[in-house]
């Protein structure tokens, strides 16, 4: 799947690329300051659940930032990308003003560039491997911002290119779920000529991109546009369909499906099992975000209700916790608080999201952990008991272990608590396929190099294998599974 070095070298030697390198000296490239992403003012954006915080680069900003990229002979940035986007090639296209071309390059490997440009932790992936960071101790080229710019530019131009697909080979394959892993798998398989059907249990396609990530970070209409593109490439979508229940795997095999990719995600929220956790007003981040993002519960004309809180505590320190606390703020919370058991340094959330939350007025209560919840006479949460923590030795995750400080208990008044302490794999597929091997945590066991489960025609990836990761890692799994399934099926049927 990775781009081989010979191919990259040939691409780099293209005349236009060589010409760009000659035009500007590296010394001059290095003098340019990294562009900063324009943002909506905090006092404005907290009033809108559906207005994007990052407002995107202008063409001028993007082209100038693209000049910073030195078109390295050995582009280490690509190694940091789980889907191996040809990063210098798309950036150099921006530098020469061929934005549509840049967008096509992105789509060679990523089914969802506008999504990745928004939600990928670029600072930990491609940008962390950038020459500027590695060798010059300077801010990386803003690869993520440029990716978003190219994808947005193409979409807004109304001239979205549809990636080329191979001639149909007539082989039917299916995905279980329609989140990033499944969509990336579907995009690659349809390109290879397979007849792909995406099955989704909810009434909308997109999985966590739709129900989990708020519109102020990833507007649903942008996800829809990328889905439309997959549809144009020939991917079929089937909503309200639970594979293994609505129809069994055997039923689908009878209908001609030869292989399956299971990308059913980590759809089971974790709770902390502490007293009072089932009071009303204590909900999982999945429930809270689904009611708002998918069901539009904040709007009067929709039927789905959502609980509003004046004093809202969100338990956890990941991106989902930041999404929940900022949603609470936008839904009218007077006090929106993060309660996290370690310190800010160990927070799994992106630095950018923490910064945005702080600008918006979110209070951070780090190094404390809830012990118990209290309810009022109607059974609605009214308060919580917490304990202060200190950091001990590093644990298995490499982060310093939080240790409760005896005698440091204190109480806090709250009327809405959102628990965002992680998720477990969705149990639906394993429960309907008894012979499928799963770990004790419920994740599907796959041969890591093949992405193949204990049932040969079942491949799996994303959170159902990893137990909880990022959009881009899921997409990487989807791509790898597509490559491996393609080999598997070709061997089996000796097609082509």
């Amino acid at each position: 799947m990775g781009l081989d070095s010979l191919y990259l070298k040939q691409e780099r030697e293209a005349e236009w690329r060589a010409e760009l390198r000659r035009q500007t000296k590296n010394k001059d490239r290095m003098l340019i300051e990294r562009v900063s992403m324009p943002e909506l003012e905090p006092e404005v954006r907290v009033n809108y659940q559906d207005r994007e915080v990052n407002s995107g680069l202008t063409r001028e900003m993007a082209m100038q930032e693209a000049v910073r990229c030195m078109d390295c002979a050995n582009p280490t940035c690509i190694e940091g990308c789980p889907v191996s986007i040809n990063i210098p090639k798309f950036i150099k296209n921006i530098e020469r003003g061929e934005i549509q071309q840049a967008a096509s390059v992105l789509k060679e490997t990523s089914a969802l560039p506008a999504v990745c440009g928004r939600v990928c932790p670029q600072e930990k992936q491609c940008e962390a491997q950038c020459f500027y960071v590695q060798k010059l101790n300077k801010p990386a080229v803003a690869i993520g911002h440029l990716e978003r710019f190219a994808a947005d530019f193409e979409r807004e131009s109304g001239e979205m290119s549809v990636p080329e697909t191979a001639k149909s080979n007539g082989i039917k394959v299916a995905t279980v779920g329609s989140g990033p892993a499944a969509l990336s798998f579907a995009g690659d398989m349809v390109k290879k000529g397979y007849d792909v059907t995406v099955f989704e249990a909810l009434h909308e396609i997109g999985g966590v991109l739709k129900y989990g990530i708020p519109e102020f970070r990833l507007p649903n209409k942008i996800v829809d546009k990328e889905l439309e593109n997959l549809q144009k490439m020939g991917v079929h979508f089937e909503t309200n369909f639970i594979v293994g229940r609505t129809a069994s795997f055997d039923d689908l095999k009878e209908q001609g499906f030869q292989a399956f990719f299971i990308g059913s995600g980590a759809g089971l929220p974790r709770f902390m099992s502490i007293p009072g956790e089932n009071y009303n007003g204590i909900l999982s981040s999945n429930e809270y975000l689904t009611r708002v993002n998918l069901m539009g519960a904040q709007y009067e004309e929709t039927d789905t209700p959502v609980l509003h809180g004046k004093r809202v505590a969100v338990i956890g320190g990941g991106n989902t916790a930041m999404d929940s606390v900022r949603t609470a703020l936008r839904l009218g919370a007077e006090k929106a608080m993060i309660v996290y058991r370690r310190s800010e340094e160990e927070m799994p959330a992106r630095i950018e999201e923490i910064k945005h939350a702080k600008e918006e007025g979110v209070e951070f209560h780090n190094l404390c952990n809830p012990l118990e919840y209290y309810g009022d006479e109607k059974g609605r949460v009214s308060g919580m008991k917490l304990i202060r923590m200190q950091l001990g030795e590093p644990d298995a995750s490499g982060r310093r272990r939080p240790v409760p400080m005896e005698g440091s208990e204190f109480e806090m008044e709250v009327d809405l608590v959102i628990v965002a302490v992680g998720v477990s794999p969705n149990p639906l597929v394993p429960s309907s396929l008894k012979e499928l091997k799963v770990t004790k945590w419920g994740t599907i066991v796959v041969d890591e190099t093949k992405m193949q489960s204990s049932i040969p025609e079942m491949f799996a990836g994303g959170d159902i294998v990893r137990g909880g990761a990022t959009v881009i890692l899921a997409m990487g799994d989807g791509r790898r599974a597509a490559e491996k399934m393609d080999h598997f099926l070709k061997e089996k049927y000796a097609v082509n």
Binding site: A201, L202, H203, Y211, T239, N240, F241, I242, R245, T246, A247, S248, D251, G267, L268, P269, F271, S273, E277, N278, Y279, N280, G281, L283, S284, N286, E287, T290, R291, M295, G296, Y299, E300, E301, T302, D303, T304, P305, V306, L307, K378, G379, R380, N426, P427, L428, S431
Partner: protein, 279 residues
Amino acid sequence: MNKVVKKEFFSEKVVRLVVEAPLIARSRKAGNFVILRVGEKGERIPLTIASADAEKGTIDLVAQVVGVSTSKLADLEPGDYITDLVGPLGKPTHIENVGTILAAGGGVGVAPLLPIVEAFKKAGNRVITVLAARSKDLIILEDQMRQWSDELIVMTDDGSHGRKGLVTAGMEEILQREEVNECIVIGPAIMMKFAALLTEKYNVPTQASLNSIMVDGTGMCGACRVSVGGKTRFTCVDGPEFDAHHIDFDEMLMRLGGYREEEKEALELYHLQHKLVEK
């Protein structure tokens, strides 16, 4: 999109809809439920499958009108479409020949009880059924239930049909009279609570089917959590049936009221809009 092919009202507030859903009609088992949504702005609501016709490709849904979403559902006419319908969800009822089954249903809980009673009967059990409601016009599916029951007792609070009294009175009569091997109860949470207390006294294993608040129904949101034997379980994927003697019914009753204020406001608004349209 699933077409409504037939609609009838059992009573003013209880409606039966026959809906086209060929795949679900084929794959559903007793105890399964579906989640549906009426209109693009609609809410996802869980409903148990009362019966199905695999040949015609239809399922029967019975709903009690309580809020906006169930009002919209009941307003659908034959020929109209349900925007979204997904299922079958939940674990099917564990059916085997255990001897004598006591099945107790209250209100619209009788609808999901029907396929379970049918399945137990077909598995060779002796089935004694107790149906209960506040009054005569709220007793539903009596004839269908009788068809699959060796004995059927009807209880009404006001004595307008069958015997006067609560469901537990009818159940206790049986429990005193003969050996019951297993009991299943479906109905309002408060009814299930007292039925469970009763069968516990008689040491009869009892299952209760819970109607918790849900959003996705696939385990994702955790809204449907209940405490069973001190552990948090999700009704949608771990249930909907649980050992009734270990369910924390008081907590469940409290959680069912979790969105009452919001629902009340929404219903008032809905009625107001309806009146405006009618004018």
